[in-house]
Amino acid sequence: MTISPTHALADESDVSDRAVSPREPSNPDPLEKINRGTFAFNEGLDKYFLSPLATAWDFVVPEFAQTGINNFYGHLNMPIVLANDILQGKPMAALQDVTRILHNTVFGLGGFIDFATIVGIPENDEDFGQTLGVYGVPPGPYLMVPILGPYTLRDGVGEVVDTTASGFLYAPFWYQVAGLSPIETSGASVGQKGLELLNLRSIYDEELEESKKDAFDYYIFVRNAYLQNRRAKVADQTDAPVLDEEDLYFFDEEENGDEADDDEEENYDDF
């Protein structure tokens, strides 16, 4: 590969074009020590409690029902997605999501079947953490939250806002239709969230076990994947990485120009 200085310049400008609403802080995980502790706690909880529960759930609930439940939770969350479409100034996404809500309510048995996807209405994935990101709020430190898992400060705040909004949205149902007291209502909301997590855990059981097995450092695996994925979502660009390392695809070859020719011939694939 020949690398000229002009190429190197072009690369840099291109990389900064691509990226990134707020730049990452230099160390995204200043609380790593504490986070690793919480991570170990969550892993233990998963191993001795969640995972067996998910296995039982998987045994009792057939796959189509798990998918249906997952669809239904997605459907319940659509008003929140819609609100965030609007807050981010995305009228097309908002239109799509209104159409999506109507389709899945009417033709999707109240949300258990994702009819909208079948007829080709795209699904938008927005939340308040992303909305803050779009307005330039940096992600802040990485936080491992007990039971709930990875967040950044920004996205954790976003989650609290979304969950609260969702709670207020569905409280009238629990309160008036189901006749629960306010305390029972908040209990029901927690149960609702718990069931969602359990169902998800059971859907992705094999992926989780395999990722754990394949990882060289599972904590880093999760952190890197979470931060990359959130960055991509804020930039609405899940089909390419939003680079935080400018040298991801071209590391310091320029510095050692004399060795670059050597590398050109270097290929160990055939062994």
Partner: protein
């Protein structure tokens, strides 16, 4: 076109016309955006490679008369052809690559290649009724090409998987897989960096060998169990 027909009077009519017009222009915009992203002369070859590979994988996964091991090893040998493991090894090791001598580099590439092919093969084998839609391609820095695909159906319906390819020695090969914005190269790089922070390249090689060995053993066991 649309605007002429929109001369009709009445509020509802006008509103409907406006909506149709908006929908129409939006779809025009997205079509032209798709065309701009995809420069066919530059991206045709890598795009075709991904297309062919997807077709091959679907047909391997459909061989239900074969054992899981046979299917996985077929996917592995396919992976051997389409990934550039030397480049991937350089990228995941970044600066540490420079510190290694040729023998170590070679050893690393061999082990990393086995590791990736196996994890790739094992995971793919679980995915059944899924289709892959190769919907776009884009020229990247220094003439790399990203080929964009989407999973249709199954548990990962709608998942975006993008492949970054580089042309070296007149061959297009995959140098990164990006799933929902998560780059495999970046993910391995961050993990290896952590391992190398606490240990030497020897330690990393030992971990790789261990993992590959465990996979081998597990596979031998399950093969023995099916026989």
């Amino acid at each position: 076109m649309t605007s002429e027909r929109c001369q009709a009077k009445g509020f509802t009519r006008r509103a409907v016309c406006a909506l149709v017009f908006i929908a129409f222009s939006v779809s025009l915009v997205s079509v032209s955006a798709a065309l701009a992203a995809d420069d066919p002369t530059l991206t045709a070859a890598p795009r075709q490679l991904i297309n062919e590979t997807a077709t091959k994988i679907v047909s391997i996964l459909a061989k239900k008369d074969q054992t899981t091991e046979m299917r996985i090893s077929e996917i592995e040998s396919l992976a051997y052809e389409i990934f550039d493991f030397t480049t991937m090894s350089k990228l995941v090791l970044a600066r540490n690559w420079k510190k290694m001598d040729k023998a170590k580099r070679k050893e690393f590439v061999v082990e990393f290649k086995r590791h990736l092919s196996r994890t790739y093969g094992t995971r793919l084998d679980r995915y059944e009724q899924e289709e892959v839609d190769v919907y776009g391609a884009q020229v990247e820095v220094r003439n790399d090409v990203s080929v964009k695909t989407r999973i249709l159906g199954g548990q990962f319906d709608g998942a975006e998987i993008s492949y970054r390819l580089r042309n070296q020695r007149d061959e297009w090969k995959i140098i990164d897989v990006v799933i929902e914005g998560v780059s495999l190269v970046s993910n391995y790089r961050s993990q290896f960096k952590e391992v190398l922070n606490g240990g030497s390249i020897e330690d990393l090689l030992a971990r790789l060998r261990d993992k590959n060995f465990i996979v081998d053993e597990g596979r031998a066991e399950s093969a023995a169990a099916t026989n």
